[in-house]
């Protein structure tokens, strides 16, 4: 037994080790790597894992629970409150809308009403595991589309609870209650169930608020790394257990616990402890999804299953598109939401097996549906790739999505391109001095937000000559280049230099190569975007180390002058002679150190020699000596 467990573990781990890096290298993403690995080791290809896959999956579902705990940790209660409208509105409409549409489709295909409702509700779910992992992996979670997707997924997780409660009522066995873990509350009166649920939720919040902190403080004093990890796992597992006992979704419970703990000082501790377990279990989960796909069944009725998969996904996609439109998402966000959530999620596996138990429909139908679900999950990573490479570039086509603004009356001395964090600072200072500005920006949301604040920002691509003309570059004196993308900034600088050589350009740069590139184009002065605040921080650090503020400022200033001299000097080397560049850059570091070292706070050199009275003291002594002793002179 132990042997076989170890052997199984070895096979799963190998699959993860081999397929995930390959998939990532090919740009397919880790999730698809796990799924392919699962298919390959599964019963229909290598047969390394077989029937126990189902149990493995059950176990691995805990990865989803952990993931939601981690998601919760990232979401402070305030942020969750901000998301209430997308969660309840968008999420609620998604579940009911998609459920209804799918149920109607099922009825049209000849399924009777009750099973059709069950199918609709089951297939309305999307895969939290795949979607959140993929969004995270591709850095899309924080975008508007990503946030909306998250909101919908969260609502789906919540709605599993009532769906679980409804299922027994849909079945042929509605009269005789089947007792399972998930539906154990069905035997109690409704008010008692409600009370238990409320009690459990309160319990989770209380644990998060009052138990975790003292426990962790106690462990912190003991300085035992493993006991931290054990405690973190115990919290997650314990809450999951509690939730199962009262018939709530464990994922939801741990998510709630995560949110409660998001403000705690042990947040990072919990994150680092749970993260590797989550990663492994989630990987295991994806592998077992891959391994579960019943290729024999698919081979026996390929057209039906293909039709079901495509039909389901397109229907879900359409509903999400409509909802995205209703909720005023812009086109890229809408597409991300619709394509991202078009698959059917892992909850379907649970719900389908329940449906069979509750005798809502036959095991054969369930088998077909399970295959449909698995394939739709399989298709999600490729769908994301399609979305990123083909769909998003098209729908974010600026000219199409939003026409360039017509600029009226642009005759200002200053044109600012890019009005984000950087450009706004520059712009606000100039505006405060009543200097008229023409502002260009490419972020439609920013343009609208600033418009609401009464700042007119023109939407458009500042590297286009017609826009530069319209912005009044012929008559302007100064062009502030503050866009946050290096390549775009360089393109704009080229364009301005070529068509408006009289304009002085002040530019923000991202890094050294960008600095060199802009200087070479003839940009008058280039500012490294983080230099100012880093410089201030350095001064503050010196002050905290006991330097007097005045000394700290002068030291920092001297260092900056040196630094600015060096970077100008390095520009040519960067282009012509990389080897010498690094040599010189290294030399400059040593130089700066020497420059600072002789500046002991009591010793002045170079600029501050006038304040140094050492030589004067020596001179004074000589003079006094000569007075005392006339022969000397």
């Amino acid at each position: 037994m132990t042997d076989s467990v170890l052997a199984q573990a070895f096979i799963y781990l190998c699959a993860a080790t081999i397929f995930v890096p390959i998939a990532k290298r090919l740009g397919l993403g880790a999730v698809l790597g796990y799924l392919i690995g699962g298919v390959v080791i599964g019963p229909f290809f290598m047969g390394l894992v077989g029937t126990e896959g189902h149990h493995v999956m059950h176990f691995a579902e805990f990865g989803v629970v952990m993931m939601l705990f981690l998601v919760g940790l990232e979401l402070r209660p305030a942020l969750l409150w901000q998301l209430r409208r997308p969660i309840l509105g968008l999420g609620g409409l998604q579940v009911t809308g998609t459920g209804a549409a799918l149920a109607a489709a099922a009825i049209a295909l000849g399924v009777s009403l009750r099973p059709a409702i069950a199918i609709g509700l089951t297939f309305a779910m999307s895969s939290t595991a795949i979607v959140l992992s993929t969004l995270n992996e591709r850095g899309l979670l924080k975008t508007r589309g990503g946030q909306s997707s998250f909101a919908v997924l969260l609502f789906q997780d919540i709605s599993v609870i009532p769906i679980l409660a409804v299922f027994p009522l849909l079945g042929a066995a509605a009269a005789t209650t089947t007792v399972t873990d998930a539906t154990s509350e069905a035997g109690r009166p409704a008010w008692l169930s409600a009370l238990i649920v409320i009690g459990a939720v309160a319990c989770v919040i209380a644990i998060g608020r009052f138990v975790v902190r003292p426990v962790f403080q106690f462990l912190a004093r003991a300085k035992l790394r493993e006991s931290f990890t054990a405690a973190a796992l115990a919290i997650v597992v314990g809450i999951a257990l509690l939730m199962l006992q009262v018939g709530l979704s464990p994922a939801l419970g741990t998510f709630l616990a995560g949110v409660v703990l998001a403000d705690s000082e042990y947040r990072h501790e919990l994150e680092t402890d749970i993260e590797p377990f989550k990663g492994l279990l989630l990987g295991l989960f994806f592998i077992s999804v891959g391994a579960q796909i019943d290729f024999a069944l698919i081979a026996s009725r390929p057209l039906v299953i293909a039709g079901l998969v495509i039909g389901t996904m397109i229907l879900k996609l359409c509903v999400l598109q409509i909802l995205g439109w209703i909720f005023r998402l812009d086109r890229p966000a809408r597409w991300l939401l619709a394509v991202g959530l078009a698959q059917v999620g892992e909850f379907a596996f649970v719900l389908l097996s329940l449906a069979v138990q509750d005798r809502i429909f036959s095991p054969e139908l369930a088998g077909t549906l399970v295959a449909t679900v698995a394939i739709s999950m399989m298709l999600t990573p490729p769908a994301f790739i399609l979305l990123e490479r083909v769909i998003l570039p098209r729908v974010t086509d600026r000219g199409d999505a939003r026409p360039q603004d017509e600029i009226i009356d642009a005759n200002t001395p200053v044109v600012i391109a890019g009005f984000g964090r950087f450009g706004q600072m520059v712009g606000r200072l100039l505006r405060a001095n009543r200097i008229p500005l023409t502002i260009l920006d490419l972020d439609p949301e920013m343009v609208d937000i600033l418009g609401r604040l009464g700042i007119k920002v023109y939407y458009g691509d500042a590297s286009r000559v017609d826009l530069l003309h319209a912005a009044g570059c012929e008559h302007a004196k100064l062009f502030v280049l503050a866009v946050d993308d290096a390549a775009t900034a360089t393109r704009i600088a080229e364009s301005v230099r070529e068509h408006f050589p009289h304009l002085t350009i002040l530019a923000r740069c991202i890094d050294r190569p960008h600095y060199f590139a802009l200087r070479k184009l003839g940009v008058r002065k280039v500012f490294r975007e983080t230099f100012g605040s880093a410089y201030e921080t350095g001064i503050e650090a010196l002050k905290h180390l006991g330097y007097r503020a005045h000394t700290a400022h002068r030291l920092a200033r001297r260092w900056r002058d040196h630094e600015e001299g060096v970077i100008e000097e390095l520009g040519d080397l960067w282009r012509d002679d990389r080897a010498t560049y690094f040599q010189r850059a290294k030399g400059a570091l040593d130089e700066a150190e020497r420059l600072m070292r002789d500046e002991d706070p009591t010793v002045y050199a170079d600029r501050d020699a006038g304040w140094d009275n050492e030589s004067l003291r020596a001179d004074t002594q000589v003079a006094e000596a000569s007075v005392d002793n006339p022969e000397v002179s």
Binding site: R554, N613, L616, D619, V622
Partner: protein, 204 residues
């Protein structure tokens, strides 16, 4: 021909009535270098070496500034402290400024009558400039009387101060061309007033 360096110090040039116009009168004169200190060092982080190079390159050093609190704006004090290094400007080996000519071109708020014993400023301009006099002396420079334009506060915004402008320019040109009676220029009260008597007879 003497080269003339005007070290100009005015923290709010935008509001200046007299200094701005005086400066404009001499800015384009050949042989004159105007160095606007507040423009060069907005944070008072003075480059002493650069300042010393400028001093070496010129023969006449003019400190042009409003007469704030009977003295100079802050940057000139910082400039003195940091540029006039021991061993460079004075003291052992400090000979770099020796023989150069220097004076202050100032504007005062009060009228001339206030700057005398019994007046409400109690001291004469020359007495109040004693630290500059002594600084010049210690550095081996010839210290001339100030070029002082009085009652600048009473001058209207649209007054183009034609008379002081012309006098200032005349003074600078005379210094440049060595036509000024330096001994007498060192002993009078105010170059702006005494200028005609310091120039060669045939010109005056």
């Amino acid at each position: 021909m003497r080269r003339i360096l005007i070290l100009f110090a005015h923290p709010v040039l935008e509001r200046s009535r007299v200094n701005r116009r005086l400066l404009a009168a001499v800015r384009e004169v050949s042989g004159v270098t105007v160095h606007d200190l507040y423009d060069a060092y907005p944070t008072l982080y003075i480059d002493a070496k650069r300042e010393q190079r400028l001093l070496v390159e010129h023969d006449v050093i003019v400190f042009q500034h409003p007469f704030y609190w009977y003295s100079t704006p802050a940057i000139l004090k910082e400039w003195q402290d940091l540029v006039l290094e021991h061993g460079w400007a004075y003291g052992h080996g400090g000979t770099q400024l020796r023989g150069k000519i220097t004076f202050n071109a100032i504007t005062t708020g009060g009228p001339e009558a206030a700057y005398r014993r019994g007046g409400y400023n109690r001291f004469t301009i020359r007495e109040l400039l004693a630290p500059w006099d002594q600084t010049a002396h210690l550095c081996g420079m010839r210290f001339l009387a100030p070029f002082a334009v009085h009652a600048a506060l009473r001058i209207a915004a649209d007054d183009d101060v034609a008379q002081p402008r012309a006098a200032y320019r005349q003074l600078i040109e005379a210094l440049r061309d060595d036509r000024l009676d330096l001994d007498r220029a060192a002993s009078v009260e105010n170059l702006a007033v005494a200028l005609p008597s310091l120039l060669p007879r045939e010109v005056a």
